[in-house]
């Protein structure tokens, strides 16, 4: 039980801080959230700066062009960049955190050479084509079909909840390459393809969220030709290929947001002090309990990272436990913000009001809380398969 940093880790932190202090003031202003090309340019510009300073792909293996950093160093990186108010990974999320690591783990040498460097440099943006209208929590029910025709697959179907689809160059696409029969489990017969988003037959339609913004899109695929060479891993082995990458997730997926929780909470306390609501002990105690919850999210993160380090990167008990607690706390935080704001919580121009709306997705995105509880029950607690 050691929460202190080693000399190397402290050194890494100090060099990073110094770099952030130097470069952040020179960043251009943040783009309009509705301007997708500007957002892409901003996010990729930041990635390029990270790349040039040697911070790109910190958690990627060295063979893939990454830095092979320890989970603790990655944790420090995410913590310090968030504290310093540096840009979020943004449009490069899928490339850096899922598609890239998948290619690194399962791709051929040629595939790694083609796709990984542009991700690290911020030259190419990836999006994720996994979910479908009829395949959400039940991802293996996906129906987008890919039929072999010479050196191409011909792909038809539709994908949904695809963030950054409008500005992405590539999509990591899960397709069905073998039909589901009574003899083959549904998880077989799926393949992983790199789809060029500019291929003929790809149509992107933005989806407006309840927060009023178009944070993701539907992607329609009408007989899109994708070279067989773009398949990563064996045909019909895409489910395993996709799941392998989850082991790259070493408990650090939400570090920035955990740090942000504490900042929001302190800001709420100051606002409550200013508007007089701080005098209400019920509100005060509510914020006090949220402070405990935020502390817990941070400690859980440190625990998960340490356990991942100890077990060699295999995600353990931690991931689902953290996700469940995190999504709940995140929503409670913004509900508390609404209490601090009072009637001003109805003014969407006020700070936290749109965040409150956005927070409603936390218990749904990346595995609903119900699915997470199923996972905890069956895979961690060993309860019988549910129904």
């Amino acid at each position: 039980m050691d929460l202190s940093c080693t000399e190397d880790e402290e050194d890494f932190r100090h060099r990073l801080r110094a770099w952030l202090r130097r470069v952040l003031p020179a960043l251009p202003p943040r783009p309009d959230p509705a301007d997708w090309p500007a957002r892409r340019a901003y996010d990729c510009g930041w990635q390029r700066m990270l790349h040039d300073a040697g911070y790109a792909g910190l958690h990627w293996p060295r063979e893939a062009g990454g830095k092979g950093a320890t989970p603790t160093q990655h944790l420090i990186f995410l913590e310090e960049t968030e504290r310093a108010g540096a840009p979020y990974v943004g449009a490069n999320f899928v490339g850096l955190l899922h598609a890239g690591p998948t290619i690194a783990a399962e791709g051929t040498a040629g595939q790694r050479a083609r796709w990984l460097p542009p991700i690290l440099r911020g030259d190419e943006v990836w999006c994720q084509g996994f979910s479908e209208p009829e395949a959400g929590s039940d991802l293996a029910a996906l129906r987008t079909r890919a039929v072999r025709d010479g050196d191409d697959y011909v792909v038809s179907g539709s994908k949904i909840w695809t963030s950054h689809a409008e500005v992405a160059d590539w999509c990591e696409l899960l397709v069905r390459t073998a039909p589901v029969t009574p003899d083959t489990p549904r998880h077989r017969g799926i393949s992983w393809l790199a789809l060029p988003m500019d291929a003929p037959g790809v149509t992107v339609r933005p989806l407006r969220t309840l927060a009023g913004t178009a944070e993701f899109a539907e992607v329609f695929l009408d007989e899109v030709r994708v070279p067989v060479a773009n398949r990563v891993g064996a045909e019909n082995d895409g489910w395993r290929v996709t799941m392998v990458t989850l082991s790259f997730e070493r408990g650090t997926a939400f570090v920035g947001e955990v740090v942000a929780c504490r900042r929001v909470l302190e800001s709420l306390a100051r606002t409550a002090r200013a508007n007089g609501r701080w005098d209400d002990p019920v509100l005060r105690r509510r914020l006090g309990r949220l402070a405990a919850d935020c502390t817990a999210l941070w400690r859980l993160t440190q625990w998960n990272v340490s356990e991942a380090q100890r077990t060699g990167g295999v995600p353990g008990v931690g991931g689902s436990v953290f996700k469940l607690r995190f999504s709940q706390v995140r929503q409670e935080l913004y509900d508390a913000a609404a209490e601090v704001l009072g009637a001003d919580a109805l003014d969407a121009g006020r700070e936290w009001v749109v965040d409150r709306l956005s927070s409603l997705s936390y218990t749904i995105a990346a595995g609903t809380s119900q699915i997470q509880r199923n996972i905890v029950a069956e895979r961690i607690l060993g309860l019988p398969k549910g129904r």
């Binding site: 039980m1 050691d2 929460l3 202190s4 940093c5 080693t6 880790e9 603790t72 944790l75 504290r83 955990v258 740090v259 504490r262 909470l265 302190e266 709420l268 306390a269 100051r270 002090r273 002990p281 005060r284 105690r285 509510r286 914020l287 006090g288 309990r289 402070a291 405990a292 919850d293 935020c294 502390t295 817990a296 941070w298 400690r299 859980l300 440190q302 625990w303 990272v305 340490s306 356990e307 380090q309 008990v317 931690g318 436990v321 469940l324 607690r325 119900q370 997470q372 509880r373 199923n374 905890v376 029950a377 069956e378 961690i380 607690l381 309860l383 019988p384 398969k385 549910g386 129904r387």
Partner: protein
Amino acid sequence: MDFSLTEDQRALRAGMRELMERRFPRARLRAVVDAEGGGGAAAGEGAGTGAGAVDRGLWRELGAAGFFALRLPEAAGGVGLGLPEAVLAFEEAGRALLPGPLAATHLAAGLAATGAPVAGVPVAGAAVAGAAEGEAVVTALDTAGAGHGGAVLVEHLASADAVLVLGDGDAGIRTAKEIGSSAEAVRSVDPATPLHRVPGGVAPAAAGERSSGEQGAGAGRGTAARLRREAALLTAAQQLGSAVRTVETAVAHARERVQFGRAIGAFQAVQHLCASMLVRAETARSVVYAAAVTEDPGDIAAAVLLADEAAVRNARDCLQVHGGMGFTWEADVHLHLKRAWVRAEQWQTAAAAEEELAAGLMSTGARCL
């Protein structure tokens, strides 16, 4: 950073678990509870021979195993370990529902060994000196825990030799006899934790003695606050142990109990109760362990809140998973719930912890996370 347990810490935890299972198996717990007659009653009178009395033999064995002397320097006959190790030991005690004023005796052992001035030591010195070996039973009276009318509940008073009294800023040791003279037995909700109500106004030192806070030079100043924090954390560790145990108990029952032709653990409604229990327990674990490392008051307050929540709510859910059996005296679930309620009232209450954390939000930059 490596937050995981070291090999030594794992070994310590395993050793403590083995000790608890061997010396305080379920049959022993049931003997304590069932001797009491099934209705909840007054603490045993007469030097701890009655129902719910501290088992002196077990207490000595805990002492021999280093439970109370865990943090004393080896030169002083202790084990020379720190708060993280103490937390692991207390977690195991909580898991086993081991009764007795564990935290108070552990802290008294520390007071005796530090050589710091402690009020009342001339009077109760022998008792305190014996705490480390488990020869003495020391309970606690925390004046900050005063309820209506200033009265304070004290556990296991009839079994105790001495009482660690925590005042506003100072701490002292009084004999159990002194405190007991004005105490009144309470029908404790927890059959394994006899309680006495002691009227308000008890000072850390008997008349004519100086309390630690009055010794000057800062030796005693803040002693009470430090002891209160440590006691709160060690109690939170017991809550954690209980919370982890009730998850396991609920899961074991859900895998075994068959209804509608299948184990009830196959039903999502039951699965989700169990999953939420695990989330509470593991969340509490990370905060309790972190607080043991940092000893930061805010971290300890967070540990108190999340461990109390985990212990109480997990016991409730465990009871629910057990259905009708969970409502019986025979099942152990209610013992976890009742003890969790007792512990949640000790040392730092939820209200105090929440207020402390809220105040911490206003001291911007004082601490991040």
